[in-house]
């Protein structure tokens, strides 16, 4: 038997034994919850990178037009088909220069400014459609998980939504709502609302299912019962107790949702039912450039990289936020 370190005096040990009863440490200045979240968030390198890139690209597309003031719609047919400046590195004869750092397209429109303008639309469509899908999905998931009576019908409704074909739906929506939307939001704004609406309305189902599953499990947890016993109303239970606890699957859906929204928009453009032709989006720039992929690979690569990096950084950002928002992980 080896000697154990025995606390100096029994009294000290006693106090320690019941340490829970008194403040062990001096009162720390109150910590802000948001500061904690930020501290935890900062630890996640991927998230910081993702967030940084996202801010960069968001600021880029918002303020880009002031820094790079070429109009993406201006045609300059004499200067068509410029290559990006970096081609000068290996091919000094290439038609390239700093006047159009990313080159120009077949009608001489500046690609950099198109990327900026396209990014605005793509990001906006992505975020809004994702947000819409999340709101609908979460609402339906929560309602059907929480209220047993609604469950059956809401889930059948989800089945219905899953089986609706997006293409005819788009055409239908365009016919029914284009005119009124156009007159109140302008042709581009109107189409924007339509596209966001359609993508949002056709991609909430996965979220709804996952949220429902989680709510069903959470509902059985004792703290929900506890909340009911202290007189919390259903609405408050959902808002205060259930929703914060399904943040994590919602985050995952959000990540995938943004990617899907950006890609769906581009697929719609590819199939010819998207935005007006002179209204660039990343997806459309990519789709339009596929034909000339061999000669001008940069025209597919640039928007492709922009989409991928955005999706990737949202993914990492989502990971980081999920960790940061969960106090259990944050505490570690």
């Amino acid at each position: 038997m080896t000697e154990q370190a025995i606390p100096a005096s029994p009294i000290e040990a006693d106090i320690e034994t019941f340490g829970a009863l008194t403040d062990k440490e001096p009162q720390k200045p109150p910590r802000s919850q948001w500061k904690d979240i930020w501290d935890q968030f900062r630890k996640h390198k991927g998230a910081v990178f993702g967030g940084g890139f996202l801010i960069f690209i968001t600021l880029g597309v918002i303020f880009g037009p002031w820094l790079w003031d070429l109009d993406p719609k201006t045609l300059d047919i004499r200067n068509k088909n410029w290559r990006p400046v970096y081609t000068l590195l290996w091919d000094s004869d290439a038609k390239a220069g700093w006047a159009h750092p990313f080159g120009t397209d077949q009608l001489g429109r500046d690609i950099l400014s198109q990327m900026i303008a396209g990014g605005r639309v793509s990001m906006a469509v992505g975020w809004l459609a994702m947000a819409l899908a999340l709101i609908i999905g979460t609402a339906i998931g929560v309602l059907s998980g929480y209220f047993k009576r609604l469950d059956f019908w809401l889930m059948r409704f989800t089945d219905l939504a899953l089986s609706l074909p997006i293409l005819p739906l788009t055409l239908l929506a365009v016919t029914l709502f284009r005119q009124p939307l156009n007159s109140s939001f302008g042709p581009e704004g109107g189409m924007f609302i339509l596209i966001v609406g359609i993508i949002g309305l056709t991609s909430w189902m996965q979220t709804a299912r996952i949220v429902r599953g989680d709510i069903l499990a959470l509902k059985e947890r004792e703290f929900i019962l506890a909340a009911r016993s202290i007189g919390t109303t259903s609405g408050k239970i959902i808002r205060r107790h259930l929703l914060p606890n399904v943040i994590s699957p919602i985050m995952v859906s959000a990540t995938l949702g943004l990617a899907t929204a950006i890609i769906t928009e581009s697929a719609l453009s590819f199939l010819g039912v998207g935005f007006p032709s002179d209204f660039p989006t990343w997806g459309k720039l990519l789709a339009d450039a596929v034909q000339r992929m061999q000669d001008y690979p940069e025209r597919v690569l640039l928007p492709g990289i922009a989409i991928s990096l955005t999706v990737l950084s949202v993914n990492y950002l989502g990971d980081g936020l999920r960790d940061a928002l969960d106090p259990r992980i944050r505490g570690r």
Partner: protein, 345 residues
Amino acid sequence: MLTFTFRRLILSIPTLLFISFIIFGLLQLAPGDPMAQVPLTVPPDVKQKMREALGLGAPWYVQYYKWLIQFFWIEPKIFIDYLTNTSFLLGWLPDTAFYQGELRVISWQTRSPVMDIVVQRMPQTLWVVGLSYVVGIVIAIPIGIYSAYKHYSVFDQAGTFITMIGFSIPPFFTGPLLIVIFSVYLGWLPSIYDTTHVVTDWASFKVQIFQMIMPVMVLALQTTAQISRYMRGAMLDNLNQDYVRTARAKGLREGVVVMVHVLRNSMIPVVTIIALGMPAIFGGAIITENVFKVNGIGQLLLTALFANDLPMVMTLTFIFAILIVLFNLIADVLYGLLDPRIRYD
């Protein structure tokens, strides 16, 4: 379990009827005209006659009713006839001959029964889309397992990175890219899928493999990205469970612990997710099929849509709805079968 399945099956009938009604309504409201592909040189009065010949003049409820009868009564009769007549499964039964030549669901584009075309398209869709699903899963599962087991390792990070990229690149980009590389520059693979190709021997089998590689890979990329994420999540959930410690305390090898105990539990949610993805296989992959000219169900739907071939669109969409409802049910039943803790009823 059996009553549960049976009950859900019965309940799905009104659901499906409702869905069919909604789809029909949407398609009726949607703009578009089956005469759009007729050249402008054809005068309007001729077009009007053609339109009338398609039965477009009848009120919507008559059209809907007709479709319902055709789809739910006449087509099944033909199917049963086929089963008892030509299929090798039930061919020994006496020929039922239920079908008396009633009007079937006829496509406006081809003026032929929709179902015949669907049946014709099934093989290539199942081959390409189905195989890509299988390939995607086969790749995704080991990636998911290993990523979860080596959580936050370089492999995990790289896996996340690559799968997310795979997820964020649309097939209308990867498709032509592969074609340019493998068909144009290298000349290894055909860029056009031959749907009439029949596998008879090794050489023709190789041809079949060659023509499937690219479309399968493009589609598998998407599947892999999603399934591996789910797999990783499920594995992570289970790796920290108490029973894993128990298994280790028995002295089992790590391989057995992970691949038998953890994997079996993690597969429960993943298998149901895989089942939920199945209808998409039958639905084809619109863009990829188009890029590689694998004329399957997806391409059929796309051409039907652009030609405003309503009976075709309606039938395809509705078959898709049936599959979704069915596989929802299958996923639920699978969940119950795989997880002994869950018992319906």
